[in-house]
């Protein structure tokens, strides 16, 4: 399309200019910091690779949790801010009622594989139950309400579950028993990598593939995609829309429950607040990948994990910011704000209609 100069001037918008300058500013800062770090060269290649692997491990967990946000957003156009609590509730309960007793009985390290499978199943089941309950009691009655209302309700549900589990299991930090078999490191092609990290990554990838097959190939998965496009027409196919929505919550929560166990294996502790940051990070990852997109959530999770792991050392340090490697969260949430400003549809999200065209 061609526009005359007059038309262009008419459309001239100061906000656009400010945003452009802002973008350029960010790019300059990142490039500046990166160049400074590289010239200074404080880290070896080995350090960078370690950071990258840490980022990948963390990112695969974000990816698993992000799927819950994206699936629910897909069918309901709702951001389920209580999802972090679905993550927490499963692993917290499984730790208190399964992992710790098994450890005290001396079975935990004698039969690590069945024990880990058992805690995972329990965590997934509890997370699913909490999710289904929340959907039924708090979200379903608001199905036809304006979109802001379920959003606020979700924040309320998030606080409710945090303090519910705090009341149930206490406010302290509970140790998740160490799995001795996964305590050390493996050396692969000259690289040292924590055994737990490997387990976390492989499990996450298998779960992601499983979910993808479920959504793409199964009858229920197809019904989920149909419901996310048009609920009335889906009902005209004989699809029980409410049931599909419950399944969506349950599947997302099951992944979050599994992610909770992987998280606990990595950090070896659980508490009532543990869902908050991973939840927000995973939400960021979902937005980064394009909320509503399943491959987007996976990609966004991995990208966010690596970015927040490397970015502080790569360019914040070069800028002379003290204690840069404690600024992971700042980096991640700055990224969220930037995506929302400049590319709200994320990496794989659909292009929103150009309003100005």
């Amino acid at each position: 399309m061609r526009h005359t100069l007059g038309q262009r001037l008419e459309r001239f918008n100061y906000l656009d200019v400010v945003l452009w300058l802002f973008r350029i500013g960010i790019i300059v800062v990142i490039v500046w910091g990166t160049v400074a770090t590289i010239l200074d060269n404080p880290y070896s290649m080995r350090n960078w690779i370690d950071l990258l692997l840490t980022g990948l491990t963390q990112g695969s967990l974000y990816a698993l949790i992000a799927l819950g946000y994206t699936l629910v957003y897909g069918v309901l156009l709702m951001i389920n801010f209580a999802h972090g609590e679905f993550f927490m509730s499963g692993v917290f309960t499984a730790t208190v009622f399964v992992a710790i007793p098994l450890n005290e009985a001396g079975l935990w390290n004698r039969h690590p594989i069945p024990c880990l499978l058992l805690v995972t199943v329990v965590a997934m089941a509890v997370s699913m139950a909490i999710a289904v309950l929340t959907e039924r009691v708090a979200y379903r009655p608001l199905r036809r309400a304006p979109r802001l209302i379920p959003l606020i309700t979700a924040i309320g549900a998030s606080f409710f579950w945090q303090y519910f589990f705090r009341g149930l299991y206490g406010s302290g930090i509970t140790a998740f028993p160490t799995v001795q078999a996964l305590a050390g490191k493996w050396t692969v092609a000259g690289l040292e990598i924590g055994k737990t990290d490997v387990v976390v990554m492989i499990s996450s990838i298998l779960l992601l593939i499983g979910l993808y097959i479920f959504v793409m190939q199964t009858k229920t998965g197809k019904a989920m995609r149909a419901v996310s496009e048009d609920k009335d027409v889906a009902a005209l196919m004989g699809i029980d829309v409410d049931r599909v929505i419950v399944i969506t919550f349950a599947v997302g929560a099951a992944l979050a429950g599994a992610a909770g166990i992987l998280y606990a294996m990595l950090y070896r502790q659980v508490n009532f607040f543990m869902g908050f940051y991973p939840g927000l990070k995973a939400f960021t990852a979902a937005v980064l990948g394009g909320i509503g997109s399943v491959p987007g959530a996976a990609l966004g999770g991995l990208a966010l994990g690596m970015f927040e792991s490397i970015a502080p050392n790569l360019f914040l340090e070069g800028l002379g910011i003290p204690g840069a490697n404690q600024l992971k969260d700042v980096v991640a949430f700055t990224m969220l704000v930037l995506i929302l400003m400049f590319r709200p549809q994320g990496i794989l999200g659909e292009r929103l209609a150009e309003k100005k065209a």
């Binding site: 009858k219 197809k222 149909a226 048009d230 027409v233 009902a235 005209l236 196919m237 004989g238």
Partner: protein, 237 residues
């Protein structure tokens, strides 16, 4: 007993009184058409039958059974399928996946496979494009897909909402030929159309809907001869 019977159905959108006492019947094996101007309540009537909208007053009977107790997705299992207005295909699903969704209410794998062959015979275009994402089909192809998808439910009663809308004249003929074919194979059809000319050619009987009320009901021939219908819906003076 009629296949479908509406008795004094009143339906509302909020405070808007969209259907003001609709009564009509469709006998087994018939094609019945519902004609009327924009906003007359044709789509609303179909939504009420399919359960997407519940009548505030009056009854909808399917073979004598009151449908009020059933939700929209349950009514599909009773043998009612709908081709929604504006096609309503799942744009992000492939053609084959759309057809799978059409057969969602069924368990008989063998029957589904047979019906898939049958709809591919009716609409050979769809067979060529079975792995294409439905949103990238042409308008006419999307219409074929919407019809094919409804047939995959193997319905006894097919509700069609303006299947000819937005199609080129050649294609319109084609669509109405298909409708007759489907009917000959034993499916009862309630056809909503603005193209009264074509609708009255294929239908056995018809009703005229005006601002939420049925003002006329007759055989298709009777309606074609009716001066009011000729003037308002067939464009004759």
């Amino acid at each position: 007993m009629p296949m479908l019977e509406l008795q004094d159905v009143h339906a509302y959108y909020g405070n808007i009184h969209a259907l003001k006492g609709i009564s009509l019947t469709v006998e087994e094996g018939e094609i019945v058409t519902l004609i009327g101007a924009n906003g007359a309540g044709k789509t609303t009537t179909l939504r009420t039958i399919s359960g997407l909208l519940k009548p505030r007053q009056g009854k909808v009977y399917l073979e004598g059974e009151d449908l009020d107790q059933y939700k929209a997705h349950e009514i599909v299992y009773k043998g009612v399928a709908m081709v929604p207005e504006g096609r309503g295909i799942f744009a992000k699903l492939t053609v084959a996946e759309n057809l799978d969704m059409g057969a969602y209410s069924r368990r008989d794998k063998k029957g589904i496979a047979e019906d898939l062959e049958r709809v591919f015979e009716l609409f050979p275009r769809l067979k060529e494009r079975r792995n294409q994402v439905a949103g990238t089909l042409s308008g006419g192809e999307q219409q074929m897909l919407a019809t094919a998808r409804a047939l995959m439910a193997r319905p006894r009663l097919l509700l069609m909402d303006e299947p000819s809308m937005g199609l080129a004249p050649v294609l319109v003929e084609d669509v109405f030929d298909r409708i007759m074919e489907i009917n000959h194979e034993g499916t009862t059809i309630l056809l909503v159309e603005q193209n009264a000319h074509m609708a009255l050619q294929v239908a056995h009987r018809g009703y005229v809907l005006q601002t939420g009320e049925i003002v006329l009901g007759d055989t298709a021939d009777g309606l074609r001869q009716n001066p009011m219908v000729q003037k308002a819906y067939l464009g004759m003076e």
